[in-house]
């Protein structure tokens, strides 16, 4: 994994050409695939804790010959393809040539290193995730300007159990996400007092997501 520092010069150097030969294809039916992916994302964010599968048809996004760890979950790639465009700067925690080329080509989304500018961020390595409040939290009059994070996790089902409550959940929801550091939950709890400002996230694994809007109250059991 490239540590943060090294990838910081990503933007300038090779922004020029996109290598079409190795470009990963996007949706084959943009209109209907985007709609399907969006509805899955809408359902996941409306019902925090629910595991929602994204059944878009997308090739695997592998870096050239690198280990599975470099593999970007299809759900994250599909979500960014469906939502990003020229007006939404995207931040990648680690440089990922395949993903950045695909995003720039298919969606025209600008890539950024400035956490505060990012509308979307793909965090490949939850353990070394940047501080939450490095991202835009929105402000009281325009809380919608907060960033949306796609956080890759090891599993959506066999982590230590947590209890989620809040809008979208009838009373409570047992959630077992594996691979999210305690520091994340701690930082997130600190943001709660600043509501309506805050951060919304999706945990992604393979073709599935779990949504975590800022309104959800998480109790780490």
């Amino acid at each position: 994994m490239l540590p943060d520092k090294l990838s910081s010069n990503l933007h300038g150097a090779d922004a020029a050409g996109i290598d079409l030969a190795t470009l990963t294809p996007g949706f084959n039916d943009t209109v209907h695939d985007s709609q399907g992916v969006f509805r899955a994302l809408l359902d996941a964010l409306s019902r925090p804790g629910k595991i929602v599968s994204i059944d878009a048809v997308l090739p695997d996004l592998d870096q050239d010959g690198s280990t599975a760890a470099a593999h970007v979950p299809m759900a994250a790639f599909a979500a960014l393809l469906a939502l990003a465009d020229y007006s939404t700067p995207v931040l990648l925690q680690h440089e990922h040539r395949g993903l950045s080329d695909a995003l720039r080509f298919h969606t025209g989304a600008p890539l950024t290193h400035d956490h505060a500018q990012a509308v979307f961020a793909y965090l490949h390595d939850a353990e070394s995730m940047p501080l939450l409040d490095a991202f835009s939290l929105g402000d009281p009059e325009t809380p919608e300007n907060a960033a949306m994070l796609f956080i890759r996790v090891d599993s959506l089902t066999d982590g230590t159990p947590m209890t989620w409550r809040g809008p979208g959940i009838r009373d409570s929801h047992a959630v077992r996400i594996n691979g999210v550091p305690d520091s994340f939950w701690h930082e997130r709890a600190l943001l709660a007092s600043q509501f309506p400002c805050g951060i919304d996230c999706y945990f992604v694994h393979g073709g599935s997501v779990i949504g975590l809007p800022r309104t959800t109250r998480v109790e780490v059991v």
Binding site: H32, L42, S46, A82, T88, P143, G168, I169, T215
Partner: protein, 289 residues
């Protein structure tokens, strides 16, 4: 009536569901943020639609951004599928998206509505899209949007309570009967759209996702499923809904919202369910029984 429109009947040369993909993406992002901050009005770059502003362009754009080929669409106005505007909008989506449409609430995956919430309880598999003329619940007390935004940012809602206090002083009770503001998730004061206050309780902890589109005012907001929605009131003047001393002339219902119809010059009146599908279902059940 579950009509599936063949592909050919769709208007040629138009995008799926009319909006271009760029606009859909913009609306979809707004919808996700609306769900994340329940009750907060998210500004969006609303587009002109082939329907006049104020006739449902907000609902139209939300439905257009979320609808897919596998959806079944129901459109109602004043509770009925047969009102001219409901017919017009249903036909619009049949032509531009070729989706199946229905008048039966239970069959619909997406319901676009104006001024009513269906009597039939909704499920987790359904999305209710409201057409909203005035998204700002405080507009009558503070018309300037720059000011009302600050009040929402600071949850500074003394103003609306003062109005209700004054209603009680003048009229002995809170004098709002439709578009009765609600507090969503104990935080945002929100306009439920001009539904009668009779429908307000249905918004609370509703299994379905509720999306609100205001096209002319360029705002989108949402109430996620199973979210607390409380109608403003005083402890000693609690929120109450209308009770009829009539029953539906067609199906005998006493617990649904009734439309009053003047049947002759002398002013004789008849009361009928406003929700035509609900009334139809009850009558069908009564015939079978």
């Amino acid at each position: 009536m579950n009509a599936r429109i063949e592909e050919s009947a769709m208007a040629e040369g138009y995008n799926f569901a009319y909006l271009d993909e760029q606009t859909k993406r913009m609306i979809r992002r707004a919808l996700l943020k609306a769900v994340a901050v329940p009750g907060h009005q998210v500004p969006f770059a609303s587009r002109e639609m082939p329907l006049p502003y104020g006739w449902g362009t907000g609902g139209l754009q939300v439905t257009s951004a979320i609808i897919g080929r596998s959806d079944t669409l129901k459109v109602i106005d004043q509770g009925s599928d047969e009102t001219t505007n409901a017919v017009n909008i249903r036909r619009f989506f049949a032509r531009t998206a070729g989706v199946a449409t229905t008048t039966r609430t239970v069959e619909a995956s997406i319901i676009q509505t104006r001024h009513r919430i269906p009597e039939t309880p909704l499920t987790e598999a359904q999305i209710l899209v409201y057409q909203v003329p005035m998204p700002e619940p405080l507009f009558r007390l503070e018309p300037r949007v720059s000011e009302s935004r600050k009040l929402h940012a600071l949850a500074d809602y003394g103003l609306i309570n003062v109005k209700y206090y004054e209603d009680i002083v003048q009229h002995g009770s809170i004098a709002t009967t439709y578009d009765y503001p609600v507090l969503v998730n104990d935080r945002y004061l929100t306009s439920p759209s001009p539904i009668p206050k009779f429908d307000n309780p249905k918004m609370h902890m509703n299994p379905a996702l509720q999306l609100f589109g205001a096209g002319r005012e360029r705002r989108i907001y949402a109430i996620p499923p199973y979210t607390k929605v409380r109608s403003l009131d005083f402890e000693d003047h609690p929120f109450t809904i209308q009770q009829w001393d009539h029953e539906c002339a067609l199906c005998g219902s006493r617990d649904s919202f009734l439309d009053e119809m003047i049947v002759d010059d002398a002013g004789a009146r008849m009361f009928v369910c406003s929700d035509s599908d609900y009334c139809q279902e009850r009558r069908a059940a009564q015939e079978d029984a």
